[in-house]
């Protein structure tokens, strides 16, 4: 690669008491790339997301942002760098409309009075750019379908113009059609040059949009695959630990382990 990855993790470890949740985890994401993060329950996916988003900082390890060493100790640090996270619970205000949710915490006002017209205009523009179909940006979020809510949550995270987007199980609650809309959105974002880390259980989703798949098993890297050249069985056996770990060793070999 000619330029460094936008986000690189090296030797990231985290323990909760005696439990090693993450051990020397490596991960790299480049701009315009979708990396899927997969693993069994308890493999450490959520812990890794929390470490990147600053909610639960890692105990040790190095995080590089565009080739520079950075510290992520608080959610604010991650946001300041340009890392946006959409959690599984979405955390939306059901009573506010789409515009209100998009601009929550970053309202536009003129002399202290909310500029609803400008916010609505930008919200419509954003929805159009991302080809998100919702009945009306003035509808309360409570009235939207699960897929529409997910799309709104993602667009809200884009308000800060991030470079890396973490999506935690975005399709878990969605039906087939909604899922396909969401995957379209993820591709759209990738084409806009965003680096996307997609946490998912669903092999279909991963095959559809991911460029690479990083497997976690028992808190450790257990393989990094190119989606186009790897069979589904190979990935699954890597998740369950049934695979011979040669692939894992081969792909992580050139990345220095943290001492």
């Amino acid at each position: 690669m000619a330029y460094p990855p936008v986000l690189a993790l090296r030797g990231v470890s985290k323990r909760f008491g005696g439990v090693h949740a993450l051990v020397d985890v490596e991960l790299q994401i480049r701009a315009g790339e979708v990396v899927a993060l997969v693993g069994d329950n308890g493999a450490g996916k959520s812990t890794l997301v929390r470490a990147i988003s600053g909610v639960g900082p890692a105990d040790k390890g190095v995080i590089e942002w565009e080739g520079h060493l950075v510290q992520i100790k608080r959610p604010h640090d991650a946001q300041a760098l340009g890392i946006a996270t959409v959690y599984q619970d979405l955390a939306m205000c059901d009573n506010l409309d789409v515009v209100g949710n998009l601009f929550l915490g970053r309202e536009i006002d003129r002399m202290g009075i909310l500029d609803e017209v400008e916010m609505e205009r930008r919200a419509r523009e954003l929805m159009r750019t991302l080809s998100i179909r919702i009945p009306d940006v003035r509808m309360p979020v409570a009235a939207l379908s699960a897929g529409q809510r997910q799309a709104v949550a993602i667009s809200r995270s884009l308000m800060a113009a991030p470079k890396v987007l973490l999506l935690d199980e975005p399709t878990a609650a969605l039906g087939i059609e909604q899922t396909s809309h969401l995957l379209d959105l993820v591709e759209e974002l990738r084409d806009h040059g965003l680096a996307v880390l997609l946490i998912s259980h669903n092999m279909g989703d991963i095959k559809a949009v991911a460029d690479r798949v990083a497997v976690l098993r028992l808190g450790r890297n257990n393989g990094l695959f190119d989606v186009n050249t790897t069979s589904q069985e190979q990935i699954i056996s890597s998740i369950t630990g049934a695979a011979d770990n040669a692939v894992a060793h081969r792909t992580t070999r050139d990345e220095e382990a943290w001492p």
Partner: protein, 416 residues
Amino acid sequence: MDAVSATSGRHPRTRGRNMNLRGYADAFRARLRLGERGPILVALGLVVIWLVFQSLDDNFLSPRNLSNLSVDIVGTGLVAVGIVFVLLIGEIDLSVGSVSGLAGAAFAVLNVNLGMPEWLALIVAMLSGMAVGAVHGFFFAWVGVPAFVVTLAGLLAWNGLTLFLLGASGTISLDEEGLVASLTSSYFGAAAAAYGLAALGIAAYFLVSHRNRNRHKAAGMPHRSLSEIWVRTGVLALIALAAAYTLNQFQGLPLALLIFLTIIVASDYILRRTRYGRRVYALGGGIEAARRAGVGVARVRILMFMVSGTLAAIGGLFVASGLTSASPTTARAAGSGMLLINAIAAAVIGGTSLFGGRGSTWSALLGVLVIESIASGMALLGVQDAVQFMITGGVLLAAVTADTLSRRSAGARDRA
């Protein structure tokens, strides 16, 4: 432009530019489903109540009775406005009745017994309400004690303090000509006052709607049609001018009503049009979302209890003004919870949700009109307290049930 047609063409509930009657009906039904029962239903209920009482007693809709009603609602109404603030963040303040009693007693003791100037005693009484709210807010937001327990303790404790303050002197009569007494006894007799206020409200509503429409239109977004704005303004004008006419048939525009309306308009504006207000609604809609968006949850919570305490104190001063006295009897009545229940009932009947995030301070006006109309009508008919209590309780239960059901159906849609 094309985005507009792209969305409104596909979805019937969009606020489109060429909405026909069916579109409005659909939009209305959608709003009902979402738990915004709409002030229209409550207003219809109010009309029914008025017609029933008028048919039972010719004096009910007389200018004199309606004018008195417009003054009587203010004490409870202001307490209800405070309750709305707390309900919006999904909490409850059970102490407001006691706090209103405390403010009245504090004013009476300071002014009459200790000779403090009226304006200063008034400010101290209001600040006492704010301080009480701050104490509740601290225990709730910082210590983490559930709000209903904190304020339940407050209900008893502040009522105790009120009785303690009044204990030495018993009933204290306020100066009949004084500042506080004049709060409920002053009228702007000139006909121009009531009509002027009505005209001001109508003009402001029209101009704001019109300007909003033009800005939406200029930005190429869906906007209300001019005819819709005219119809809405017309309905508002009808109500405002009828009210002004009725008030002028008696003694003119009551000062108390003017203060009440001013506080409602100002608080509604702050809640809906500023970032501070947006944070209040956000907190009621989802604590986690609000926190992640950078809302200072503890700060907003404490502030809401301070607002509620302050408005309870102001409401208490209007109650004391109406009685021109502060007495242990009324203090005990305040502590017994009638004012509290009426205020909560008013807020909920008016359309503010007990579950947070939905409602406006206008609901305090609408709800308190319903509550006090029932009370006033039954007083005219000579119905005994016992029956009145049962009816008010029934109305409160009905309002809360409607709130719960609408929330449940909205939630069911949400999970579907």
